[in-house]
């Protein structure tokens, strides 16, 4: 059983990305340039491949799970891959099962995004917010607070370059890093 699963695992790590070995990756996953995947982060491509764009930060205990979308249960073979855009941040302990994720989104600590939610660009899902209702989050929407209040932001959240740089330097000192599987020039 585990052998079959292992054989299905096909992890592509683009050059410049930093993927810790202790992370849990299952299925067909492509991790883009300059991404950081912390130890104990979980990415499961259950239904179809997951393609993660550039400069994404996936922190520890965060999980990205791509389940069979609720409207495609009948048609299991034709599920398109989940494309996650660039500059997304998945903070500690978040669970993201969203059907599609654009660019520059922030999933704050311990938030939950269900598989009926479509996340566009520049959205922020606040700490501890649970989104399950079928909906499409418009650009720059911010969800916050215990009652999932919603407001529209002025601009997309800033990418945290300095944090990414620090992590790029520090993480290799203490963790084993997965080697990029696709050679750069």
């Amino acid at each position: 059983m585990s052998d079959i699963k292992m054989s299905r695992n096909s992890i592509k790590v683009m050059p410049g990305a930093l993927v810790c070995e202790e992370s849990k990756l299952r299925g067909d996953i492509t991790i883009g340039k300059d991404c950081i995947v912390h130890p104990m982060a979980t990415i499961i491509a259950e239904a179809a491949p997951i393609i993660i764009g550039e400069n994404c930060l996936i922190e520890e205990q965060a999980s990205i799970i791509y389940r069979v979308p609720f409207d495609k249960v009948e048609d299991k073979d034709n599920i398109p891959p989940l494309k996650i855009g660039s500059f997304n941040v998945f903070e500690v302990g978040c669970v993201v099962e969203a059907a599609s994720i654009g660019n520059n989104n922030v999933f704050e600590a311990k938030c939950f995004v269900g598989n009926k939610v479509t996340v566009t660009n520049g959205c922020t899902i606040g700490a501890g917010c649970h989104l399950t209702e079928e909906q499409e989050l418009k650009e720059n929407i911010i969800i916050y607070g215990s009652n999932c209040q919603m407001r529209e932001g002025l601009s997309k959240p800033m990418p945290q370059y300095s944090q990414m740089d620090t992590l790029m330097k520090i993480l290799p000192n203490y963790h084993h890093i997965r080697k990029p599987s696709v050679k750069g020039k």
């Binding site: 917010c129 649970h130 989104l131 399950t132 209702e133 999932c148």
Partner: protein, 359 residues
């Protein structure tokens, strides 16, 4: 105490059923408006849901503790306080309030002011028909030459609470899945989506097939797990409960007319031309114009024929209606009233000695 010492920070408090207005005398607006709730033993309770006098006493101690040490940041001891309250405030509440303030907090004096009377102070008038629509009830008392006409008072259980219940009922009718919304959510839907519609439209809405174009529907998300669609009719009908006659043919406009019926004939016209609306519910969009429409319509009815009033005039408060009574209290509290008319603690104690001497 020096004679000229100006008491700068005298607290003015209007303890509403839903919201408490807190501030200081001589200030144009309250410092804060917050829910009248008390946190005791880990749970939040409404102050007015007291079980008995002892329970109310304990809750008021906690309530004033918050007021003094969280909002006023002032020691209560030997300081006066201004309380704005309704004339229909239950005796148990007023007595317990006095006991808590004099005994537990040792305030020097309490100035109790009638909300209907003092809300005329910001308008600088002394005769008006004051209608206070709050959370639990609507109370209408005419004030003539600075004297509330208690015998003409009218009260009905019409307020935000009724609207919230009505709104929940309307939502239940229209779509499933919106059962048992919390009062806070209903309040938010009411504030953000609903309005008081015009009479002509209201009559159309009552018919089976309204011949009007509905206002747009609003999608209201609740807690990230459900989305309610608040349809046009619900938005317009939420406030209708205030204007629908109940079993006794009573509603908000008839309260005003009934109050007018009870006052002296010379005052009737003057009062009808001086109507003052206070309380948070009156802030709803379209409330005033609808009330006027309804008043004109009802005054033509047989029972109000002898009033013979054809004109109703409304005052516009310089403040927001929800703190109009508080503002009145702040004005009264900044005058000499505070020194002359407040009930001093030493007098309360002395009265007691006097009584003991007699017995």
């Amino acid at each position: 105490m020096p004679l000229y010492e100006v008491e700068k920070s005298v607290i003015v408090l209007d303890i509403g059923t839903s919201f408490t207005k807190f501030g200081f005398t001589s200030e144009p607006a309250p410092r804060s408006i917050y829910r009248t709730q008390v946190k005791s033993k880990g749970q939040i309770r409404e102050l007015w849901d007291y079980r008995d006098a002892q329970d109310l006493y304990d809750m008021l101690v906690d309530f004033f503790h918050d007021i003094y040490f969280k909002y006023a940041l002032n020691s209560p001891k030997d300081k006066p306080i201004v309380i704005v309250e309704s004339l229909l405030c239950p005796i148990i509440f007023r007595e317990t309030l006095a006991k808590v303030l004099y005994k537990h907090y040792g305030v020097s004096s309490i100035l109790l002011l009638s909300s209907h009377l003092v809300s005329l102070a910001p308008l600088a008038i002394d005769t008006a028909l004051v209608l206070d629509v709050g959370y639990k009830e609507a109370v209408c008392i005419p004030v003539c030459y600075g004297m509330p006409m208690i015998h003409a008072w009218q009260a009905l259980n019409l307020g935000s609470q009724t609207i919230h219940k009505h709104l929940q009922m309307l939502l239940n009718e229209k779509n499933s899945g919106a059962q048992n919304l919390s009062e806070m959510t209903l309040e938010d839907i009411k504030v953000r989506c609903c309005f008081v519609t015009k009479k002509s439209r209201a009559q159309q809405l009552q018919t089976l097939k309204p011949q009007i174009e509905m206002c747009p529907e609003i999608k209201y998300p609740v807690k990230g797990s459900t989305t309610i669609s608040v349809c046009g009719t619900t938005r317009e009908k939420a406030y209708e409960i205030l204007f629908d006659e109940d079993a006794d043919h009573l509603c908000l406009p008839t309260m005003i007319l009934d109050a007018l019926m009870k006052v002296n004939i010379d005052l009737k016209h003057q009062l009808a031309e001086n109507i003052v609306l206070i309380g948070g519910t009156t802030m709803a969009m379209g409330f005033k114009s609808r009330l006027k429409e309804e008043l004109l319509c009802h005054s033509k009815e047989e029972r109000y024929k002898k009033l013979n009033i054809k004109c109703f005039k409304f005052h516009t408060s310089p403040s927001k209606e929800n703190y109009a009574a508080w503002l009145g209290g702040a004005i009264y509290g900044s005058t000499d009233c505070l020194n002359t008319k407040a009930i001093q603690r030493r007098n309360i104690l002395k009265k007691r000695n006097y009584l003991i001497g007699r017995i």
